[in-house]
Symmetry: C2
Subunit: 163 residues, 2 copies
DNA sequence: TGTTAATTGTTAGCATACAAACTAATTTGC
DNA sequence: GCAAATTAGTTTGTATGCTAACAATTAACA
């Protein structure tokens, strides 16, 4: 009979690293998916996305990011908007295309630099932004709902350090 | 001057909102993108993905999740594997298809339940898993690198609460 | 037994996300 | 003044992730 499996993948009592913890080189490779930050991060992102699409069915998170930035700035070039919303050029292009298709933003070339597209929200875009901005706050609130106020504060501080 | 960070979540000093927080109804709609948990979460996910693909160019995070689970379990049905790796049926199908294409896993119908596909890692799949599992640990480590040990612990605890 | 319900897997469509290759315009460096 | 480098934007390809609709199979139960 093989030794009782003492690997204890879900061990939470790791408060004692004693000699009985001596592990073979092979065991060194133990990988508990559920404990990896990337895996948990993906789960939290899924939950956030689910909340967002329930409370704001008309816009995706990135669409709302772009629209809100544009409404606050008044205007921006496409590339600039991508930088401000942490999207690369290819991604912001797709987002802008879909917002333009729905006539929530408009674009025109900048005469002084013909490479640039100057984007502005349309009145419909500004109206939609004003209509959903409270719901956007609610998304943030509901996402953080499992935490106490103090925990929320600490969590956001730590999360920002990981960007 | 900002308060020094206090990681003690049980602290009774729940620094209350002061009178300078009183805001007008119009200001109520203030939306600071950079302070929204969803936006920061996306940034952290981007950084994690970047680290992952640098340290493990051969597999995506979801592919590695599926492969690792399968290597640890020995076998699983496709739907079951999806549940264990937090992917819905459509998503796990795409991941499994790509792993099968590269012959890292194999599938065969289960005779006792013709709806199910039994998935197993191939020897190449197991070998690749063993080769990259240490790098996977390094991804987690590097992702959390900006935090102190204590902060890592607190952060993961809070993150798990948000799943 | 026979109808219904649940599960499994597939397909299609939309939206991110990134890399790479590309065009075009602008700025620089000599 | 002109070539080179940089910047802006587009396009393509791959991968992820969701929803929704669907077929096939199995399980539940009246």
């Amino acid at each position: 009979m093989p030794k009782p499996q003492n690997l204890n993948l879900n061990s939470s009592d790791n408060n004692h690293r004693l000699s009985d913890d001596v592990i073979s080189p092979l065991e060194e490779t133990h990988y508990v998916l559920e404990d990896q930050v990337g895996f948990i991060l993906r789960g939290v992102s899924q939950r956030h996305l689910s909340l967002f699409s329930r409370l704001i069915p008309d816009l995706t998170p990135t669409q709302f990011s772009a629209l809100s930035k544009l409404c606050q700035l008044g205007q921006a070039s496409q590339n600039e908007l991508g930088r401000l919303t942490a999207m690369d050029a290819a991604t912001i292009k797709g987002v802008v295309d879909r917002l333009k298709l729905r006539e929530l933003i408009s674009s025109e070339p900048l005469s002084s630099d013909l490479r640039r597209l100057i984007l502005k929200p349309t009145s419909a875009g500004r109206q939609l932004y004003n209509e959903v901005v409270m719901a956007a706050h609610a998304v943030t609130k509901e996402t953080l709902e499992p935490l106490s106020d103090k925990e929320k504060e600490v969590f956001l501080d730590l999360l920002k350090k990981l960007t």
